[in-house]
Protein backbone atom coordinates (compact mmCIF):
# COMPACT_ATOMS: atom_id res chain seq x y z
CA UNK A 1 0.00 0.00 0.00
CA UNK A 2 1.23 3.44 -0.89
CA UNK A 3 1.46 5.91 2.02
CA UNK A 4 -0.57 9.12 1.89
CA UNK A 5 2.52 11.13 2.76
CA UNK A 6 6.12 10.51 3.70
CA UNK A 7 8.57 12.51 5.77
CA UNK A 8 12.27 11.65 5.82
CA UNK A 9 14.93 12.71 8.27
CA UNK A 10 18.63 12.19 7.72
CA UNK A 11 20.89 12.63 10.76
CA UNK A 12 24.54 11.93 11.59
CA UNK A 13 24.95 8.66 13.49
CA UNK A 14 25.81 10.55 16.68
CA UNK A 15 24.23 10.48 20.11
CA UNK A 16 23.40 14.18 20.15
CA UNK A 17 20.94 13.85 17.26
CA UNK A 18 18.70 11.18 18.74
CA UNK A 19 16.66 13.79 20.59
CA UNK A 20 16.21 15.75 17.35
CA UNK A 21 14.60 12.70 15.74
CA UNK A 22 12.39 12.22 18.80
CA UNK A 23 11.16 15.78 18.47
CA UNK A 24 10.44 15.34 14.75
CA UNK A 25 8.65 12.07 15.42
CA UNK A 26 6.39 13.62 18.03
CA UNK A 27 5.44 16.39 15.60
CA UNK A 28 4.54 13.91 12.88
CA UNK A 29 2.70 11.53 15.18
CA UNK A 30 0.63 14.29 16.74
CA UNK A 31 -0.31 15.50 13.27
CA UNK A 32 -1.57 12.03 12.41
CA UNK A 33 -3.75 12.10 15.52
CA UNK A 34 -1.92 9.73 17.88
CA UNK A 35 -2.56 10.38 21.56
CA UNK A 36 0.18 11.28 24.05
CA UNK A 37 0.79 7.67 25.13
CA UNK A 38 1.17 6.44 21.56
CA UNK A 39 3.46 9.35 20.68
CA UNK A 40 5.63 8.42 23.66
CA UNK A 41 5.72 4.78 22.50
CA UNK A 42 6.85 5.87 19.04
CA UNK A 43 9.53 8.18 20.46
CA UNK A 44 10.97 5.49 22.71
CA UNK A 45 10.98 2.88 19.94
CA UNK A 46 12.73 5.18 17.49
CA UNK A 47 15.32 6.10 20.10
CA UNK A 48 16.02 2.45 20.83
CA UNK A 49 16.72 1.68 17.19
CA UNK A 50 18.89 4.71 16.49
CA UNK A 51 20.80 4.38 19.75
CA UNK A 52 21.55 0.78 18.93
CA UNK A 53 22.77 1.72 15.48
CA UNK A 54 25.05 4.34 16.97
CA UNK A 55 26.17 2.21 19.88
CA UNK A 56 27.07 -0.74 17.69
CA UNK A 57 28.76 1.65 15.26
CA UNK A 58 26.62 0.15 12.55
CA UNK A 59 26.97 3.36 10.64
CA UNK A 60 29.78 5.84 10.44
CA UNK A 61 27.68 8.02 8.20
CA UNK A 62 24.12 9.13 8.42
CA UNK A 63 20.95 7.34 9.44
CA UNK A 64 17.82 7.87 7.35
CA UNK A 65 14.47 7.59 9.09
CA UNK A 66 11.41 7.48 6.81
CA UNK A 67 7.99 8.13 8.30
CA UNK A 68 5.28 6.73 6.03
CA UNK A 69 1.84 7.98 6.96
CA UNK A 70 -1.26 5.91 6.25
CA UNK A 71 -4.84 6.71 7.12
CA UNK A 72 -4.79 4.30 10.06
CA UNK A 73 -1.11 3.81 10.88
CA UNK A 74 2.45 5.03 10.65
CA UNK A 75 5.35 2.93 9.37
CA UNK A 76 8.88 3.95 10.27
CA UNK A 77 11.78 2.63 8.18
CA UNK A 78 15.44 2.92 9.13
CA UNK A 79 18.03 3.03 6.37
CA UNK A 80 21.78 3.42 6.49
CA UNK A 81 23.95 5.39 4.13
CA UNK A 82 26.71 2.79 4.21
CA UNK A 83 26.65 -0.97 4.02
CA UNK A 84 27.23 -2.53 7.41
CA UNK A 85 26.49 -5.54 9.59
CA UNK A 86 22.78 -5.91 10.14
CA UNK A 87 22.71 -7.57 13.53
CA UNK A 88 21.95 -4.56 15.62
CA UNK A 89 19.80 -6.66 17.93
CA UNK A 90 22.36 -9.41 18.36
CA UNK A 91 20.92 -10.29 21.73
CA UNK A 92 17.78 -11.38 19.93
CA UNK A 93 14.51 -11.74 21.79
CA UNK A 94 16.22 -11.46 25.18
CA UNK A 95 17.50 -8.06 24.30
CA UNK A 96 16.04 -5.29 26.48
CA UNK A 97 15.82 -2.78 23.63
CA UNK A 98 14.21 -5.25 21.25
CA UNK A 99 11.75 -6.28 23.95
CA UNK A 100 10.73 -2.65 24.43
CA UNK A 101 10.18 -2.07 20.74
CA UNK A 102 8.18 -5.27 20.36
CA UNK A 103 5.95 -4.24 23.27
CA UNK A 104 5.38 -0.68 22.15
CA UNK A 105 4.90 -1.11 18.41
CA UNK A 106 2.31 -3.18 16.58
CA UNK A 107 4.76 -4.63 14.08
CA UNK A 108 8.55 -4.88 13.92
CA UNK A 109 10.37 -6.29 10.90
CA UNK A 110 14.11 -6.76 10.68
CA UNK A 111 15.99 -6.73 7.39
CA UNK A 112 12.98 -6.01 5.21
CA UNK A 113 13.31 -6.21 1.46
CA UNK A 114 12.50 -2.54 0.85
CA UNK A 115 16.11 -1.64 1.66
CA UNK A 116 15.27 -0.91 5.26
CA UNK A 117 17.40 -2.34 8.04
CA UNK A 118 14.39 -2.25 10.30
CA UNK A 119 10.78 -1.30 9.81
CA UNK A 120 8.11 -0.81 12.45
CA UNK A 121 4.42 0.02 12.47
CA UNK A 122 2.13 1.72 14.97
CA UNK A 123 -1.61 1.67 14.37
CA UNK A 124 -4.01 4.48 15.13
CA UNK A 125 -6.81 3.66 17.59
CA UNK A 126 -5.02 0.53 18.60
CA UNK A 127 -7.28 -2.12 20.08
CA UNK A 128 -5.95 -2.80 23.55
Amino acid sequence: MKPLDSVSVLVPAKAEYVSVVRLTASGIASRLGFDIDDIEDIKVSISEVISRMIDKRVSSGRIAIDFHLFSDSIRIDFRLSDSSPKDIFAGGADDLAFEIIRSLMDEVNLNTDNQALLSMVKKLERAV
Binding site: E40, S47, I50, S51, D55
Partner: protein, 105 residues
Protein backbone atom coordinates in the same frame (compact mmCIF):
# COMPACT_ATOMS: atom_id res chain seq x y z
CA UNK B 1 18.83 18.42 29.52
CA UNK B 2 19.80 15.82 32.11
CA UNK B 3 20.69 16.47 35.71
CA UNK B 4 21.51 14.26 38.67
CA UNK B 5 21.23 15.98 42.06
CA UNK B 6 22.09 14.47 45.40
CA UNK B 7 19.39 14.94 48.03
CA UNK B 8 19.50 15.03 51.78
CA UNK B 9 16.83 12.77 53.15
CA UNK B 10 17.98 12.43 56.74
CA UNK B 11 16.86 8.81 57.00
CA UNK B 12 19.01 5.78 56.26
CA UNK B 13 18.74 6.14 52.53
CA UNK B 14 20.72 7.95 49.85
CA UNK B 15 18.45 10.24 47.83
CA UNK B 16 19.29 10.87 44.17
CA UNK B 17 17.09 13.20 42.10
CA UNK B 18 16.96 12.56 38.35
CA UNK B 19 15.78 15.37 36.11
CA UNK B 20 15.25 15.53 32.33
CA UNK B 21 16.02 12.87 29.74
CA UNK B 22 18.25 9.83 29.99
CA UNK B 23 19.13 8.61 26.50
CA UNK B 24 22.27 7.58 24.62
CA UNK B 25 23.50 11.18 24.77
CA UNK B 26 23.16 11.68 28.52
CA UNK B 27 23.75 8.04 29.54
CA UNK B 28 27.55 8.37 30.09
CA UNK B 29 26.89 11.32 32.40
CA UNK B 30 24.20 9.41 34.24
CA UNK B 31 26.41 6.34 34.66
CA UNK B 32 29.37 8.28 35.98
CA UNK B 33 27.44 10.48 38.40
CA UNK B 34 25.28 7.66 39.67
CA UNK B 35 28.21 5.36 40.48
CA UNK B 36 30.08 8.20 42.08
CA UNK B 37 27.02 8.84 44.25
CA UNK B 38 26.69 5.19 45.19
CA UNK B 39 30.33 4.68 46.06
CA UNK B 40 30.50 2.06 48.77
CA UNK B 41 27.52 3.29 50.72
CA UNK B 42 25.56 0.72 52.68
CA UNK B 43 22.29 2.64 52.59
CA UNK B 44 19.52 2.06 50.09
CA UNK B 45 19.74 4.23 46.97
CA UNK B 46 16.48 6.05 46.25
CA UNK B 47 16.19 7.27 42.66
CA UNK B 48 13.60 10.05 42.74
CA UNK B 49 12.15 9.95 39.20
CA UNK B 50 9.38 12.53 39.66
CA UNK B 51 11.21 14.94 37.33
CA UNK B 52 12.54 12.30 34.94
CA UNK B 53 10.69 12.87 31.67
CA UNK B 54 12.32 10.22 29.53
CA UNK B 55 14.32 7.03 29.79
CA UNK B 56 15.19 4.18 27.43
CA UNK B 57 16.90 0.78 27.63
CA UNK B 58 20.30 2.37 28.09
CA UNK B 59 19.19 4.22 31.19
CA UNK B 60 17.42 1.15 32.53
CA UNK B 61 20.59 -0.90 31.96
CA UNK B 62 22.59 1.54 34.05
CA UNK B 63 20.02 1.31 36.85
CA UNK B 64 20.32 -2.48 36.75
CA UNK B 65 24.10 -2.20 37.00
CA UNK B 66 23.66 0.12 39.99
CA UNK B 67 21.33 -2.42 41.58
CA UNK B 68 23.98 -5.14 41.23
CA UNK B 69 26.52 -2.92 42.92
CA UNK B 70 24.07 -2.09 45.71
CA UNK B 71 23.30 -5.78 46.33
CA UNK B 72 27.04 -6.39 46.76
CA UNK B 73 26.88 -3.86 49.60
CA UNK B 74 23.75 -5.55 50.97
CA UNK B 75 21.68 -2.53 50.08
CA UNK B 76 19.01 -1.91 47.45
CA UNK B 77 17.85 0.54 44.77
CA UNK B 78 14.37 2.02 45.05
CA UNK B 79 12.57 3.78 42.20
CA UNK B 80 10.44 6.58 43.58
CA UNK B 81 7.53 8.34 41.85
CA UNK B 82 8.22 7.56 38.20
CA UNK B 83 5.99 9.35 35.65
CA UNK B 84 3.52 7.07 33.82
CA UNK B 85 5.69 6.80 30.69
CA UNK B 86 8.76 5.85 32.74
CA UNK B 87 6.76 3.43 34.89
CA UNK B 88 5.46 1.80 31.72
CA UNK B 89 8.99 0.91 30.62
CA UNK B 90 9.76 -0.71 33.97
CA UNK B 91 6.58 -2.71 33.57
CA UNK B 92 7.03 -3.98 30.02
CA UNK B 93 10.63 -5.01 30.73
CA UNK B 94 9.67 -6.75 33.96
CA UNK B 95 12.06 -4.50 35.89
CA UNK B 96 9.21 -3.41 38.18
CA UNK B 97 9.65 -6.84 39.78
CA UNK B 98 13.41 -6.39 40.10
CA UNK B 99 13.47 -2.95 41.70
CA UNK B 100 11.50 -1.74 44.68
CA UNK B 101 8.93 0.62 43.16
CA UNK B 102 7.61 3.39 45.41
CA UNK B 103 4.74 5.76 44.88
CA UNK B 104 4.59 8.27 47.67
CA UNK B 105 1.89 10.25 45.90
Amino acid sequence: MFELVLGNSGGNEKLVFLRGEIDIYSAPDFRENLFQAIGDCKEDIVLDCSELSYIDSMGLGIMVAALKRAKQNDSNVRIRNPKPNVKKLFKITGLDKVFIMEDSK
